[in-house]
C-alpha cells in the first residue's frame, strides 16, 4: 500500500476495484463502511458481484469479469476528454502521458460500455467523481491481480491515480490490501526467486558479493524458479525435491491436479506444517511447526508495518518453531552460520544486510511497529510512499490494451467461474477453528436465480461443476448478488476443492494465476 490504514479515515472517496474488503480484509472494510455510513466519504465500487460495499456505494460499476483494463481506460478517456486530469502532477511527476492519452483515446464510453457491461452514464459519474475529489483513494486486491493481465491491471490503477494526481498524498494512493498475514513480509524477506531480503536483486554483483561475505558462501547469481515454473519443472522431471513450508498448494494453487502430479513426480518432498494439509499428504517427511501463538517473531502487514508476534504458550506436543527447524537442517548439512539463539538475532542480521529495514529493531517496534522504508534508527518510518518522487524517479504511464481472460465460457463450458474468500474462513486454517467451521462448514457456491431455474436447483441443493481440468460437487446458494451466467466459489474446503477447476494460466510477469475466470459447465446432482 502506498498509504496506511489510518489514512482510510482521511479520504473523501474510496474507489474500490476488485476487492471485497468486508469479507477478505474485514478491518479495512469496517473503516470504509463506517466512513461511508457517517457521510464522511463517498464510495465507488467496481465489481462483478453485488458485494456488501456495492450495496453501500454511491456508484456501483458492475463490470464483466476480466474487463478491468477497458473500464479503467474508459474512465481515463472521460477524465482527459473533460480536462479533469491533474496537469501539474503529470508534468512534474510523470512521463509517458502522450502514449497513454493515445491509447485511452480509443476507449470511448460507448465502446467501453459494450465491453464491460457498465452503462455509459455510470462511467461518466465515476470518472468525474474520482477525478474531482481531492482526497480519493484507490483500493484493490486479488480481483485485479489474479488475471493473466494482472500486472497490466495493476499498472492501470497506477495510471488513473497518477493521471488525477492521487498519489504521494494523504488520503490518496493506490492501496492493495495484501492477502495473507505475512505475504508482505515473505516478499520483504526475500522468499522470492529474484531478490534477497529488502528487494536486493540476486543478479546484482555488488549485492551478491555483500551476501557472500555475510553468509560466508558462494551464491548463485541466476534467477530461481517461480512456483508455477517449479511445478512444471517437477512434472517434467527436472525438479527432484521440494521443501514446502506452511503452504498448501494442492488446495490453494490453480489447477490442483497439475500440482498433485508435480508432487507425485518428485523424489523427495518435505512438508513443514501445523496440520495434515492436502499437500503434506504427498510428503515423504513432515516436520511439525509451531503456530503463531508458540513463537516469537514479526509479521509485516499490507501497510508495510513490521509488528511483533509474541510467544504466548509453549509449542504444542513436540512441535518446534519453524526457524529453529530450518536452522537445525542447515547445521546438519554442515553450514555453521545459521546458529541463531532467537528470532531477534535473525531480524538483526537481516536488517544489517537490508537498507530499507536497517532502522527497524525489536526495541523500536515494541509498541506500534514501524512502516518501511526505515533506513536508520532515527528514521520515523514511512506511512505514505512517493510523496516527493517515485522509486524510479518519475512515474511512468503505461499505455495498456485489453487482454481477455485465458479461458472464457463457450458452448461446451457455458458458465464463468470466479473464486475468492468468504468472511468466516481464512484460506485453510480456520477449518480447524471449531466455532468458525461450525458456522460455515461447507461450500455454498453463489449462482443467479435465472441460472438456478434453468438448472432446476434451489439453495442447499447440489450441482456438479466441471471444467476442462476437473470436476467437483458443491451445494449452491441462489442469489442475485452474482450476475447470470456466473458461478462464484470459495477455495476453503478440501471437500469441495475449487482449485481443481481453475485454469492453469498465469500473468507472464508476476506468474499470478487467473483464479478469477474459468469456464465451467453445471449440472444438478440428485
Amino acid at each position: 500500500m502506498t498509504n496506511s490504514f489510518e489514512d482510510y479515515l482521511n479520504t473523501d472517496l474510496f474507489f474500490v476495484i476488485g476487492s471485497n474488503p468486508t469479507e477478505a480484509h474485514p478491518m479495512a472494510g469496517a473503516k470504509i463502511m463506517s466512513s461511508v455510513m457517517s457521510g464522511k466519504s463517498k464510495l465507488i465500487v467496481a465489481d462483478p458481484r453485488r458485494i456488501e460495499l456495492a450495496e453501500k456505494a454511491d456508484i456501483w460499476l458492475q463490470l464483466r469479469p476480466g474487463t478491468d483494463i477497458p473500464l479503467l481506460n474508459g474512465l481515463m478517456h472521460i477524465i482527459i476528454k473533460e480536462g479533469l486530469h491533474d496537469q501539474k502532477f503529470i508534468e512534474e511527476r510523470t512521463e509517458g502521458f502522450e502514449a497513454l492519452k493515445a491509447t485511452v483515446e480509443k476507449y470511448t464510453p460507448a465502446r467501453v460500455s459494450e465491453m464491460t457491461g457498465v452503462p455509459e452514464n455510470l462511467l461518466y459519474d465515476a470518472a468525474r467523481l474520482y477525478a474531482t475529489t481531492a482526497k480519493a483513494m484507490l483500493c484493490y486486491t486479488l480481483g485485479i491481480t489474479e488475471h493473466i493481465c494482472g500486472v497490466d491491471n495493476v499498472m492501470s490503477t497506477a495510471n488513473i491515480a497518477m493521471l488525477t494526481g492521487h498519489l504521494g498524498k494523504e488520503g490518496c494512493g493506490v492501496n492493495p490490501q495484501r492477502g495473507q498475514n505475512n505475504v508482505q513480509g515473505a516478499c520483504d524477506m526475500g522468499a522470492l526467486p529474484n531478490v534477497y531480503s529488502g528487494y536486493q536483486a540476486v543478479v546484482n554483483p555488488d549485492i551478491q558479493a555483500k551476501f557472500e561475505k555475510a553468509w560466508g558462501v558462494k551464491l548463485d547469481n541466476k534467477l530461481g524458479l517461480t512456483i508455477p515454473d517449479m511445478m512444471d519443472a517437477a512434472v517434467e522431471g527436472k525438479l527432484k525435491a521440494m521443501f514446502v513450508l506452511g503452504e498448501d498448494p494442492v488446495l490453494t494453487d490453480p489447477d490442483a491436479n497439475h500440482i498433485k502430479k508435480a508432487l507425485t513426480k518428485m523424489d523427495f518432498v518435505v512438508a513443514q506444517e501445523i496440520f495434515m494439509s492436502e499437500t503434506a499428504k504427498y510428503a515423504d517427511v513432515i516436520l511439525p511447526g509451531a503456530s503463531f501463538a508458540e513463537k516469537d517473531g514479526t509479521f509485516s502487514s499490507s501497510e508495510r508495518r513490521v509488528q511483533r508476534v509474541r510467544k504466548a504458550i509453549e509449542p504444542i506436543g513436540d512441535s518446534r518453531p519453524d526457524w529453529w527447524i530450518i536452522c537445525e537442517l542447515a547445521k546438519r548439512m554442515g553450514y555453521d552460520k545459521m546458529n541463531y539463539e532467537s528470532p531477534r538475532q535473525i531480524w538483526d542480521e537481516m536488517a544489517s544486510l537490508s537498507p530499507i529495514f536497517a532502522g527497524i529493531n525489536y526495541d523500536r517496534i515494541e509498541h506500534t511497529g514501524l512502516q518501511w522504508p526505515c533506513p536508520t534508527v532515527e528514521h520515523p518510518g514511512t506511512p505514505v510512499l512517493h510523496t516527493q518522487s517515485f522509486s524510479r524517479g518519475k512515474g511512468l504511464f503505461k499505455a495498456i490494451e485489453h487482454t481477455p481472460p485465458a479461458e472464457m465460457p463457450d458452448e461446451e463450458y457455458p458458465y464463468l467461474l470466479s473464486t475468492g474468500r468468504i468472511l468466516y474462513h481464512y484460506n485453510i486454517t480456520t477449518r480447524y477453528s471449531s466455532a468458525l467451521d461450525a458456522h460455515r462448514p461447507e461450500e455454498a457456491a453463489m449462482i443467479h436465480p435465472a441460472d438456478a431455474a434453468t438448472l432446476g436447483v434451489c439453495t442447499g441443493e447440489k450441482v456438479r461443476v466441471t471444467s476442462r481440468r476437473g470436476s467437483v460437487v458443491t451445494k449452491v446458494n441462489v442469489t442475485d448478488k452474482v450476475m447470470s451466467g456466473m458461478i462464484w466459489m470459495s477455495f476453503h474446503y478440501k471437500e469441495t476443492p475449487t482449485n481443481e477447476l481453475t485454469v492453469n494460466a498465469f500473468d507472464p510477469v508476476s506468474k499470478t494465476g487467473e483464479y478469477k475466470v474459468a469456464a465451467v459447465q453445471l449440472e444438478k446432482v440428485v
Binding site: N182, G224, L239, V244, S291, Q307, A312, S319, L436
Partner: protein, 352 residues
C-alpha cells in the same frame, strides 16, 4: 491552539479549548467514573455517572458532554456529586442480577468496581427486575440483557466503528433494550459476529462464548501479538491460562485496528489447540506416516537433500516459503536455500 484554564478540585488545569470537563478532570488527576463515555465514540451523555459540581451551574452536569470553560470551578467529589452517583448505582443494582460470584466479567466490570468504590449495595429501591432469557443462540457471543445498563456503547461501536448498526435501542422506558431489527436473535440478524460490541461492554451483558467459564479475569495472562489471518495486521491480546490460549481480547493500542477485530481474529484462534495439530515428526514408510524423533527426521531430510544436491545439482531442489510464517522464518528459509542448498529456487504464494 486556544486554551482554557479552569480549577478542578482546587487544582488549576489548562486544556485546549473544546476539551470536556471529564477529560480536564482526568488530566488533573481526579477520579471520575464513566459508563457510556468512550473516547472513540460519539457522546450521548446518557448514564450521568460522571456528573460533577460546577460553581454557578443550576444542576450537576454530565462532565463528558460539558465543555471546559475559562475560569470554571469544578468539584468532582462533593457530597452532592457522591450522592447523585450513589443513587444512579442503586438504581442500576436493583435492576441487575446479583451474580458477581459466577459472572464472567467479575474483576473487569465497571458496575462492580464503582459499587465497591462507593460502597453501594442492592436493595435500596427494590421493585421490578428485568427478566430476559439469556441469548446464546449464536456460536460466538452470549448476550445477557439482564446485565445491560443501557450505556449504548455497543450500538454506537457497531455503527461508528464497524459501519453496520445491527443493534439499537428498542422499546421504551423500563422495557428499553438493546436489540436487533425486530428483536430477533443475533444469529438471525445481519450481525457478522465481529464482537466489537463485546469489547466495549462495561458489564457482563456481552461475553465471548468460548471464554465463558474458562478463567477468572485476574487469572488471565494477556500477550499482545499480531493476527495470523489476513494482511491488515490487526493486533490483539491472546488470553492465556495454564499454558493454554483460551481466547482473544482487543487491545486499544493496536495501530491498525484499535479495539476492533473481525470474527476470525476474535473467535478463530482456537485452531492452535485443535486435536488435529501435528505434534511429532512423521516419516512415510511403505506409504504410511510413522512417528519419528526429531533427530531421525532431520538427519533424513539433511541427507536426502545432500544426496539430491550432489547427484542432480542445487537447482534440482526448490522451496515454497510461507506467507503465514514470520519474517524470521522466511529469512532463514531463503538463506537456507541460497547458502546451504545453493539455489535461488525459493518462492511463496505472493503470486498465486
Amino acid at each position: 491552539m486556544p486554551t482554557v484554564t479552569l480549577t478542578i478540585d482546587g487544582q488549576q488545569v489548562t486544556v485546549p479549548k473544546g476539551t470536556t470537563v471529564l477529560e480536564a478532570a482526568w488530566k488533573a488527576g481526579s477520579f471520575v467514573p464513566t459508563f457510556c463515555h468512550d473516547p472513540e465514540l460519539t457522546k450521548p451523555g446518557a448514564c450521568r455517572i460522571c456528573v460533577v459540581e460546577i460553581k454557578g451551574a443550576r444542576n450537576l452536569p454530565a462532565s463528558c458532554v460539558t465543555a471546559a470553560a475559562e475560569g470554571m470551578i469544578v468539584e468532582t467529589a462533593s457530597p452532592a456529586v457522591i450522592d447523585a452517583r450513589k443513587t444512579i448505582l442503586e438504581l442500576m443494582l436493583d435492576n441487575h442480577p446479583e451474580d458477581c460470584l459466577t459472572c464472567h466479567q467479575a474483576g473487569d466490570c465497571k458496575l462492580q468496581d464503582y459499587a465497591y468504590f462507593y460502597n453501594v449495595k442492592p436493595g435500596a429501591f427494590g421493585g421490578e427486575c428485568k427478566n430476559y432469557e439469556i441469548e446464546d443462540d449464536n456460536l460466538f457471543i452470549v448476550r445477557n440483557m439482564n446485565k445491560c445498563i443501557l450505556c449504548g456503547k455497543c450500538l454506537r461501536a457497531c455503527e461508528e466503528k464497524q459501519g453496520r448498526a445491527v443493534i439499537d435501542f428498542a422499546y421504551r422506558g423500563f422495557r428499553t433494550k438493546v436489540a436487533t431489527a425486530l428483536d430477533k436473535p443475533l444469529a438471525d440478524s445481519v450481525c457478522v459476529s465481529c464482537g466489537t460490541c463485546v469489547s466495549v461492554c462495561p458489564t457482563g451483558a456481552l461475553t465471548e462464548k468460548a471464554m465463558l467459564g474458562s478463567a477468572r479475569k485476574w487469572e488471565v495472562q494477556k500477550v499482545r501479538t499480531t493476527c495470523p489471518f489476513c494482511g491488515v495486521g490487526c493486533n490483539f491480546d491472546l488470553n492465556v491460562k495454564g499454558g493454554k490460549v483460551i481466547g482473544v481480547t482487543s487491545n486499544a493500542a493496536a495501530p491498525a485496528n484499535g479495539r476492533d477485530l473481525c470474527v476470525k481474529g476474535r473467535f478463530g484462534t482456537d485452531y492452535v489447540h485443535s486435536p488435529k495439530r501435528l505434534t511429532k515428526p512423521l516419516i512415510k514408510k511403505n506409504g504410511e506416516f510413522v512417528e519419528s524423533t526429531w533427530d531421525e527426521a532431520l538427519d533424513l531430510v539433511a541427507s536426502k537433500f545432500g544426496e539430491i544436491k550432489t547427484k542432480f545439482g542445487s537447482d534440482s531442489i526448490a522451496a515454497l516459503s510461507s506467507a503465514r510464517c514470520t519474517n524470521e522464518d522466511n529469512y532463514v528459509m531463503q538463506k537456507f536455500m541460497r547458502a546451504v542448498i545453493g539455489t535461488n529456487n525459493v518462492d511463496h504464494c505472493a503470486r498465486t
